[in-house]
């Protein structure tokens, strides 16, 4: 890695670490699901744009089905 890129990457990494250390227990506990739900809203909007005939329920079913086919989830 170029020295300036390496320095920038390290700076960005440290900023994330400082941010995580400053988070409250509630923020840390809730962050994962909130990030996922936000991503779902964007994905559902994409599904609605591609398949305008689908109902809200059908859009959610398609999202779940796409997630299922993208890999199993385990602990």
């Amino acid at each position: 890695m170029q020295p300036d890129i390496e320095g920038d990457a390290r700076f960005a990494d440290m900023a994330k670490i400082r941010q995580a250390r400053a988070m409250s227990p509630a923020e840390k506990f809730l962050a994962g699901a909130q990030l996922f739900e936000e991503a779902c809203q964007w994905t559902l909007a994409g599904i609605a744009a591609r398949f305008p005939h689908l109902t809200e329920t059908q859009r959610m079913e398609k999202l779940v089905s796409d997630l299922e086919s993208s890999g199993r989830h385990t602990q």
């Binding site: 670490i17 995580a20 840390k28 506990f29 962050a31 994962g32 990030l35 996922f36 779940v64 602990q75």
Partner: protein
């Protein structure tokens, strides 16, 4: 109902019914490390076989248990999936296995206050690292290794490294531990 709402409702149900649990997987690594998006919550429950069969009837409204159960791949413990109405979020339930480390981390689980007066049970940060390295070694999922490094970066100097090394020796993951530790170490240069 959002994933978080449903999880908190379920944990309230467990508290009311006196069902011992701990919230493992990405929830625990997010708590101790750098949070990342997660589609599911993984809960380990200490329940007898007969109590387990009563579980579907105790679930809060809007949650259903999949009819087909499966087995987790590292300790072969029973796994059940709870689906949330109107959400892509899901909750996975694992029966506490007889695996030595599974038992140990359950015994050492910690009660954490996430909101004033609201508590959840999580494994210790050390046990998150031990388990994630084990999964990384067996299941070869890159996210388990990344979660390990993330927890080490945040918790670094506070961790009981002797405890971690003891279990990693048992699981044959000392090499992975050394690799992850070397990756995380630069983050400890700043005081915290």
């Amino acid at each position: 109902m959002t994933g978080t709402d449903s999880l908190l409702m379920l944990l309230d149900t467990f508290a009311t019914k006196g069902i011992p649990y701990m919230d493992v997987g990405s929830y625990s690594s997010n708590f101790y490390g750098l949070p990342r998006s997660t589609r599911d919550a993984d809960l380990v429950l200490h329940l007898s076989g007969s109590d387990w069969s009563k579980l579907p009837s105790t679930l809060p409204k809007g949650m259903t248990m999949d009819e087909q159960m499966s087995f987790e791949m590292v300790t072969s413990t029973r796994r059940e999936l709870i689906r949330i109405e109107g959400s892509a979020f899901q909750i996975e339930l694992f029966r506490l296995s007889d695996d030595e480390h599974d038992r140990s981390r359950f015994d050492r689980r910690v009660q954490v206050e996430i909101f004033p007066g609201r508590f959840v049970y999580l494994p210790s940060a050390e046990d998150v690292i031990v388990q994630k390295l084990r999964w990384s070694s067996v299941a070869k999922r890159p996210k388990d290794y990344a979660d390990t490094v993330s927890v080490m970066k945040i918790q670094g100097k506070l961790l009981d490294w002797g405890y971690i090394e003891t279990w990693c020796r048992t699981h044959g993951t000392l090499d992975l531990l050394a690799q992850a530790k070397a990756e995380a170490a630069p983050a400890w240069e700043e005081d915290f």
